[in-house]
């Protein structure tokens, strides 16, 4: 296999990793900061992809991005209202919204489960023509993903240090304390979920436009893949400033895609992606748990074998 072929694969993995890292950053906000596992992520990702595609096909490539983010925000708002105002458990709220979004997404795509953007002007084709005669000509996909990721990290680094950001972090860390600081946790949860889902929507929008198509299944399993990336990123940059941890999230997403690409080269069939991401999530969460249990287990084993030897 030639170097250029390998570089091509790596580049694709990087682009995919960067685009999907926006979803990881969304979970960084909802899962790591707010302590809410937002299971509406899959549906919201597809929603962003569908809305972005429909707006782009209608002839507004730039408008597609704010439109997808607005759709994501709305979805986050509904998830938040269900869990903060209607007494629905947060996991269940995510699942309910996710299920509902399936129908919404098909409706958005004009009662079809597939949209094609081969001849559509998207943000990617726009930049491609813009960069046509420059040295960066082939890098338009990378540039857009990189720009989006940088902006989102910058936003998070600034936002999470504002009073609202601090309140959101405290809500996930110690809700009792938030209430006694005269901040309404309902408000902070709602804002956090809205912002996070805006990023998920953006992520879906960019992935769809770079692939030039949307499928109703584009987001399925995304929450597990993003969680796997998040946990990988956490092991690399678990502690430190928000910005550093956010960069860790992107790193985790890229590493996940690189490993996955390598596995594909080793003849792992493509349909294994979701099983692999599930296993990674299980390992990443169960690993530290078992590590904590190990001393107890050892002592128990020692005691048992001691008895057996008598």
């Amino acid at each position: 296999m030639s170097f250029s072929a390998i570089w091509g694969l790596v580049q694709t993995a990087l682009e995919l990793g960067l685009t999907c890292s926006l979803t990881v950053l969304a979970l960084f906000l909802s899962y790591s900061m707010l302590n809410v596992c937002d299971l509406s992520t899959d549906g919201c990702f597809t929603l962003g992809a569908a809305v972005g595609a429909v707006v782009a096909i209608a002839g507004h490539p730039w408008l597609s991005i704010p439109a997808a983010m607005a759709a994501g925000t709305l979805s986050g708002l509904i998830t938040a209202v269900l869990q903060t105002r209607m007494g629905i458990d947060s996991l269940l709220a995510g699942i309910i919204v996710n299920t509902g979004l399936y129908s919404v997404n098909i409706a958005v795509m004009g009662k079809s489960s597939q949209l094609n953007m081969n001849k559509t002007e998207t943000v990617f084709t726009k930049l491609k023509t813009l960069l046509a005669d420059t040295p960066l000509a082939g890098q338009y996909e990378m540039l857009i993903s990189l720009a989006a990721v940088t902006l989102v990290i910058l936003f998070l680094a600034l936002f999470l240090r504002t009073r609202l950001g601090l309140a959101i972090r405290a809500t996930g860390n110690n809700p009792d304390m938030v209430r006694s600081s005269s901040i309404n946790p309902v408000f902070t949860t709602t804002v956090g979920l809205c912002v996070a889902n805006a990023f998920t929507g953006l992520s879906g929008c960019l992935l769809a436009q770079s692939q030039k198509s949307v499928n109703i299944d584009i987001g399925s399993g995304m929450v597990t893949i993003a969680l796997a990336s998040l946990l990988i990123g956490q092991t690399f940059m678990g502690k430190g400033s928000i910005a550093k941890r956010a960069v860790g999230m992107v790193l985790g997403s890229v590493i996940f895609r690189l490993v996955y690409t390598a596995a594909l080269r080793l003849n792992m069939p493509a349909f294994m992606l979701k099983l692999v991401s599930s296993v990674i999530v299980v390992l990443a969460i169960a690993g530290p748990y078992f590590k904590g249990q190990l001393p107890t287990l050892r002592r128990r084993m020692a005691a048992r074998s001691g008895k057996g030897g008598q």
């Binding site: 936002f159 240090r161 504002t162 009073r163 609202l164 601090l166 309140a167 972090r169 405290a170 860390n173 110690n174 009792d176 304390m177 938030v178 209430r179 006694s180 600081s181 005269s182 901040i183 309404n184 946790p185």
Partner: protein, 261 residues
């Protein structure tokens, strides 16, 4: 300052777990009152605090704070004017956030999207120095690294950062070792005196119930049995208190922690 009128609360009414926690409580606090509360296990002391802080809506009665009817005000809105400390020192601060960030949240002020200013940070540093725990040099460390006593002292600072109209202390030194408890108690006295705060403090330590503050309430079965202040309270001993309890309730005080301390 604080006026409770006919406050009653029954939990799980109509079930086998029915429990009347507060029975027709009437209480009036003057501005600057520092009231200590003692009582047996399950006397309704913490429930009284929950009612004042708005953790639940009482079945009957009304609560006024500084002339404002707060009976129906949600908990987080009351927190603007009511500071509260719990027995559990971990309850009042966010462990994954730094000391500075915790203080910034407690200080409030500024818009939602404003950052903590340099001037504020300096103010935090000065306040922390008052604790005498060297926390002012650790402002960027996560609160989770602090000891229980340090965290409770920090929580005290946070609760009084914006001087509250009412400070509720729910056995806030009970989970600390004796030396630290003493220190946090002294800090409490200083902060309450300096801020001229109105304060209610539940304690299981009978002698500090008599030495601290200017008024002592004794509760049992959801009622305020004794309300000691002024001349009547002066010169009272722990033995007097125990005797008064027995005379009023007809049985000995059964708060084991109280008797052991």
């Amino acid at each position: 300052m604080l006026r409770l009128q006919n406050i009653s609360k029954t939990f799980n009414p109509g079930t086998v777990n029915e429990k009347t926690a507060l029975r027709d409580i009437n209480l009036h606090l003057e501005p600057g009152d520092f009231v200590t509360i003692i009582g047996a296990n399950g006397a309704g002391k913490s429930t009284l605090f929950n009612a004042i802080a708005g953790s639940f809506l009482p079945d009957t009665g009304s609560i006024h704070l500084d002339g404002q009817d707060i009976t129906f005000l949600p908990e987080h809105r009351r927190a603007k004017t009511i500071g509260r400390l719990f027995q559990d020192p971990l309850r009042g601060s966010a462990p994954a956030m730094t000391i500075e960030e915790n203080l910034a949240l407690a200080a409030g002020g500024g818009g939602w999207l404003s950052h903590v200013t340099r001037a504020e940070k300096n103010a935090f540093r000065d306040r922390l120095a008052l604790l005498g725990m060297d926390l002012e040099d650790r402002m960027r460390q996560p609160v989770g690294l602090l000891s229980g006593g340090q965290r409770q002292a920090l929580t005290l600072l946070m609760a009084t950062m914006v001087p509250p109209k009412l400070l509720l202390l729910d056995e806030h030194t009970a989970a600390l070792d004796p030396g630290t408890a003493e220190k946090v108690l002294t800090l409490t006295e200083d902060i309450v005196r300096e801020g001229k705060l109105t304060c209610l403090m539940i304690t299981h330590n009978m002698s500090s119930a008599l030495t601290l503050g200017n008024r002592t309430l004794m509760m049992d079965s959801g009622r305020i049995l004794l309300d000691l202040k002024g001349e009547e309270r002066r010169g009272l001993t722990v033995d007097d208190l125990l005797r008064m309890f027995k005379e009023n309730v007809g049985k000995a005080l059964d708060n084991d922690r109280m008797l052991l301390s």
